[in-house]
């Protein structure tokens, strides 16, 4: 690949090769065109950039550090494992990186209300935080199943002043929360803006969220070079639900062929449709929620129910750019199971004193799996979030692993 990947992708209509685009009903064409136009106009302005820079530093607490996971690495006797600590970003996950920027854009556009879906509640909490910061209203759609599982995040959203709308149809998880958020946005696209939670949805969202997450890769690259004797890690790994944290860290390295990029998907309980949420591994070409990508569907073309122990990865689609990066072979995608994820969750907690989000534990599990086969090499993981939200769920269902 000849450099400048990011400048060349997507094309002006939001296509990454054959994936992406905007598959919108006419009621939504104009509102999305407005967001697209505003994004192009406002996001590169000095005002916007300076304000975002200030926020990143003084409100979010960036840069987040890189941690060399010495105990974990030693225990595996293979590759050295490094963690980009997005769990230390304010609100405890990478999601705030795009939420602050989406909310800033909303304010520049004169919008009063932010609408979004959430799975694990991390995007919801981050958006509610951004809304509070900017004095905007916030409405978060969340499946009833996730509301139960991610109770602490529901409490946080409410404390932050957001309205949490329970979604009671279908599988009552992330997919339905997106449907519900779209419907709410359709009712009032003039005063509201849909602040989508990952690099998914119709153009310009996959690009916009990617751009707002770029800070992770930029920081990580410089920090890694400063901390180690080598300029670049040999491997960079991240979990992939919609794919925002992965795109964030990949952007620092995408033009460097010698860095192997790994996207880690949730294999859940097994390989049968309905048991996992590994869209790139098992999906086929299709459309969902206004974009073309790989999708998990049944034989009638209905987006399928999916499962992952990590609510934030529980989605039958995936960002179109990941479908593209898979197709061209730039990123290697593989999947780890719920059980492997739990093992990694316990292991990182014990050995490093860091309780990871179950989402992020997927990336850790992959590193644990590959480290013994790559002695002398380095693996940089995007530790996308902290596990506080998951502790009750894990302890109640799986115990303390003593």
């Amino acid at each position: 690949m000849s450099g400048h990947y990011l400048k060349k992708h997507p094309d002006k209509n939001g296509w990454y090769g054959e994936y992406g685009g905007a598959f919108l009903p006419p009621q939504l064409e104009q509102p999305f065109a407005e967001i697209s136009e505003a994004y192009d106009r406002i996001s590169l302005s000095a005002d916007f950039q300076n304000e975002l820079k200030y926020i990143r530093k003084h409100f979010q607490g960036r840069p987040t550090p890189i941690h060399y996971a010495r105990n974990l690495s030693d225990s595996l006797a293979g590759a050295r494992i490094y963690l980009k600590r997005e769990d230390l970003n304010h609100t405890g996950a990478h999601k705030l990186n795009h939420c602050m920027a989406e909310a800033l854009l909303a304010r520049h556009m004169g919008k009063q209300r932010l609408i979004a879906e959430t799975g694990a509640g991390q995007h919801g909490v981050a958006l509610a935080t951004a809304a509070a910061y900017f004095g905007l209203e916030c409405e978060i759609h969340m499946g009833e199943v996730d509301i139960e599982k991610e109770h602490p995040n529901v409490v946080r959203m409410k404390l932050l002043g957001a309205k949490v709308v329970p979604v009671s149809f279908g599988g009552r998880t992330l997919k339905e929360a997106v449907d519900s958020a779209f419907q709410s946005y359709l009712k009032d696209p003039v005063t509201s803006i849909y602040a989508i939670g990952s690099v998914v949805g119709p153009h310009p969202f996959p690009k916009m969220v990617r751009d707002f997450q770029r800070i992770v890769g930029e920081e990580a690259r410089a920090q890694f070079a400063e901390m180690t004797a080598s300029d670049l890690p040999d491997h960079v790994a991240a979990c992939v639900g919609g794919g925002s944290n992965a795109m964030g860290i990949f952007q620092g390295f995408i033009d460097e062929e010698e860095v192997t990029l790994h996207g880690v998907e949730p294999l859940g309980r097994g390989t049968k449709l309905g048991e996992h949420s590994a869209t790139i591994t098992y999906g086929s070409d299709g459309e969902i929620h206004g974009f073309r990508s790989l999708v998990l569907t049944n034989e009638d073309g209905q987006p399928a129910p999916v499962h992952s122990i990590a609510s934030g990865l529980d989605y039958p689609g995936v960002g179109p750019e990941h479908a593209y990066l898979h197709k061209i072979g730039r990123v290697l995608y593989s999947a780890v199971s719920d059980q492997q994820t739990l093992d990694a969750f316990y292991k990182l907690s014990r050995l490093e004193g860091i309780i990871p989000a179950l989402e992020s534990a997927h990336a850790v599990a992959h590193a644990i799996r590959m480290a013994p086969e790559h002695p002398g090499e380095s693996i940089l993981i995007n530790l996308s979030g902290r596990g506080d939200k998951d502790i009750d769920y894990v302890a109640d269902n799986y115990g303390y692993n003593v």
């Binding site: 006419p26 939504l28 997106v178 009712k187 299709g286 009638d300 073309g301 209905q302």
Partner: protein, 268 residues
């Protein structure tokens, strides 16, 4: 002349506005759908719009979304919907049938296979909610080469450039979404609708139907005065929902509403 064009021409000659009911195929169960279609025709439907159930209908409100969910409980897929149309067609060779749905099920079936099987089953038009002409990638061309009319939606926020583009590729009729938002929303502003219809008619000679927000005989009559067709969906589907546990009563309930609308429109 296509069945849709023929039907509109005949109505025009009589000075009448088309009444188009929408129901979701397989709602509340697949056994009743064909029977409901026949009773809608008897109650005054000029054309039938049949929803293809989809699990993630982002342009629909809760009423039609729940209809999809009821149908999907019975695993009603695109193949079943085509079978239903075929069964209907064996008895009723005249009433045009339009399918309304989302892209992914069609893509999974295959565009060519879909176009052939739909035409063979007696489908006359297809409205794919989430495919603007720009993103056609094959479906548009496949459908254009078939006998199926491609129906498109236009919204209050559609620019005149947009209207022009859509009218270039549209067939059968053009479907104007009269209220902002999803199906089932309220607040119909007749003057605004009328203005938009004249704007659309600059670009096309096709009949223009109006839907979303038509709840009762009075709104149907009022819209019927300015549009070529009145589409009624959520008002019917909420009756189906209310009677989901007593499916044999649904036909009569839908007929009652439709008959009232037909009567009010013809008297207007």
């Amino acid at each position: 002349m296509s069945r849709i064009a023929g039907r509109f021409a005949a109505l025009k000659a009589e000075g009448r506005t088309a009444l188009i009911p929408f129901i979701t195929a397989g709602d509340p169960n697949p056994e009743v759908t064909v029977e409901l279609m026949h009773s809608l025709v008897q109650a005054g439907a000029d054309l039938i719009e049949l929803g293809v159930p989809f699990s993630d209908p982002m342009a629909d409100g809760p009423v039609i979304q729940r209809a999809s969910e009821r149908a999907l409980k019975h695993h009603v897929g695109l193949h079943h919907v085509l079978e239903m149309v075929q069964t209907f067609r064996a008895v009723d060779p005249d009433t045009p049938v339009v399918l309304m749905g989302y892209l992914n099920p069609i893509e999974v079936m295959g565009y060519q296979a879909f176009a052939e099987q739909a035409a063979a089953a007696g489908v006359d038009g297809i409205l794919v909610v989430d495919i603007p002409p720009e993103e056609g990638h094959g479906l548009l061309q496949t459908l254009q080469a078939s006998t199926l009319d491609q129906i498109y939606l236009l919204a209050p926020t559609s620019t005149s450039e947009r209207i022009k583009r859509i009218c270039e590729v549209a067939g059968g009729f053009v479907y104007y979404v009269s209220v902002k938002g999803v199906t089932g929303a309220s607040h119909l502003d007749l003057t605004a609708v009328e203005n938009k219809l004249s704007q659309i008619r600059v670009h096309t000679d096709l009949p223009v139907g109006v839907g979303f927000g038509i709840k009762d005989a009075a709104t149907a009559a009022a819209v019927g005065r300015i549009a070529d067709a009145v589409v009624v969906g959520s008002a019917l589907v909420s009756r189906v929902e209310a009677l989901a546990e007593r499916p044999h009563e649904i036909a009569a309930a839908l007929s009652e509403l439709l008959t009232d609308m037909r009567k009010a429109m013809d008297e207007a």
